[in-house]
Amino acid sequence: MASHSAPLATESGEPSFRIEHEAEARGTRLVLHGRFTFAQATPLWSELRRILKGLKKRERIDLDMKGAEYVDGGAMALLAHFRAEVYRRGGRAEFVDASASVQEIVHLYRADQAVGRVKKRQAQSAIEQIGQASMSIVLEAQLMLAFLGQLVVAMGGVLREPKSFNLRDLMPNMERTGADAVPIVLLINFLVGLVMAFQASVQLKRFGAQILVADLIGISITRELGPLMTAIVVCGRSGAAFAAELGSMKVNEEVDALRTMGLGPMRYLVFPRLLALMLVMPLLSILADAMGLLGGLLVAITSLDLTSTAYFNELEKAVSTWDVTSGLVKSVLFAAAIALIACQQGLATEGGAEGVGRRTTSAVVTTLFSLIMIDAIFTVFFRAVGK
């Protein structure tokens, strides 16, 4: 009978287990000696992997536990896994001659029962992944359409029965989405105006057309950048907040509770947010326009040696009422897009905290994309109608 010993594993420098191989006519006997504990999981795992590599196909193994004084749960998990691996390679492995206490842990870890087949999850092919992604886009589009349908129905209901509008939540939402956003909107738009004027000043100086900085800043801020930058800030602040808030309400069954009280989420939750944002966004955009122009003024005075009077006179000539109005029209549309996408995503939340995070991210990304699309469409449209 040939035999050899596996290297000793140690715990605090002391050897505590040993596995001996004994070749037998009908297979291999692995004789386990000593204490098998989770503290020695690493050397035990390495030893078991080494043994597994050296096994022949369809080999029969007896795990002789006579010398095993103690086996804890962690070590038994590894030994049970070893046994299952042997079975999966077409062999057989059983624990034999275990003491009563060790046999108990063998049984507890189901290491004395038939080994089930483990279905390996097959990696999805690229085509499957593309198909799945396409289907999820279609599904999301269906959800959005259904949401819009419910919105129209609920809007009809509110028009027929104005008292059913949840007026109570309107003012708090206006404060949160409007007043609380003022500082960051002012700062960002001031910096945008300043940076744009700085970039332009170099070119304008070369042509001696410094005064045109007022035209450039005036038109680009009022028509495009003021409303757009405000919308981007509001999307990050309020859009994310709406999606996370409604998502949390959905997973905490608060939306269901509202429904069982006869209160539809559309009228009770969505409308106050939608209306609040549509009312405050034009106001924020006016402030944003003003701050952007002031940013340009600072550069005009400090870098282009213009006077404030000259800057404002040029602004008056360059910027028409329509420039400001078209920006405000866009800002109302931006507000509607932010509120609707965020609320739709929030109410579509499933699962727990992870679902809320996923939908919030999706709300912000989808809204940003929509904002740019709306901006592009309306810029072209306004140009096409000659404005």
Binding site: E253, E254, D256, A257, T260, G262, L263, G264
Partner: protein, 247 residues
């Protein structure tokens, strides 16, 4: 003889392509404390969602006493519901939560609503918590407040989803006593989803036991009778808290 307040007719429930219960038939009578029970994942809470109309049946129907089908819409609710977590609206105080159905569906003046809210909170042992936010309440208090909200409009039927789950034994026993009082003194019909055996035996008058594997109701009747006399080993194992004999 009591009139049925809910009838489930050939009701199939589930989500996606998964069917949890197939062709279930049962009635819930007025004045009952009716318990829907079964092991984890058998569809107890899902069944409750179908009974209140939060989900539309895969097939079959749920009918209320007035002959209407279970489908939630806008309007005065026919019943009160307490969800497992309480589902109090986090942005409102406890008092505002309880007042919400009243302000939405009655023309009562504010003082009258306040008086009703106070009475309902007193009924569930939460007097003086009107001004607190839900986050300031313990799990048991949230469930009591949710019961107060569910009872705000004086419904004749109330649904309770796992009322004793996650509560300490004393709070759970107090909640059981409250349910019995509401049923006996106010004549409230209670439909309750639970797998808490103590609660089942203490408050339950009739029950149905759902089974995931067979997708059907495997027992119905008085829970104490079923515990003592059922021939079905699955039912006996459940009521006697024994480990399943299945591999």
């Amino acid at each position: 003889m009591s009139e049925p307040v809910i009838r489930a007719l050939d009701l199939s429930i589930g989500w996606g392509s998964t069917i949890l219960q197939k062709d279930a038939n049962f009635t819930i009578d007025s004045g009952d404390i009716f318990i829907i029970l079964g092991g984890s994942g058998c569809g107890k809470s899902t069944m409750m969602r179908y009974l209140v109309g939060l989900e539309l049946p895969l097939s079959g129907k749920v009918l209320y006493a007035d002959g209407s089908e279970a489908k939630l819409g806008r309007g005065h609710p026919k019943f009160g519901v307490m969800f497992q977590s309480g589902a109090l609206l986090g942005s409102m105080t406890v008092g505002e939560n309880v007042a919400l159905p009243l302000t939405s569906w009655t023309e009562l003046p504010v003082e009258a609503i306040d008086a009703i809210v106070e009475a309902k909170l007193r009924l569930v042992g939460l007097h003086g918590t009107q001004g607190k936010m839900p986050s300031e309440l313990s799990g048991g208090m949230k469930k009591r407040a949710a019961i107060a909200r569910a009872m705000a409009l004086e419904p004749e039927l109330i649904f309770l989803d796992e009322p004793s789950a996650g509560l300490d034994p004393v709070s759970a026993a107090e909640l059981d006593d409250l349910i019995i009082s509401l049923n006996e003194q106010l004549g409230l019909t209670v439909v309750m989803v639970t797998h808490d055996l103590e609660s089942i035996f203490k408050v339950g008058k009739r029950c149905i036991m759902l089974d995931r594997a067979s997708q059907s109701i495997i027992a119905r009747g008085d829970p104490r009778e079923l515990r003592d006399h059922s021939d079905d080993p699955r039912v006996r194992s459940f009521f006697n808290r024994e480990a399943s004999t299945a591999p």
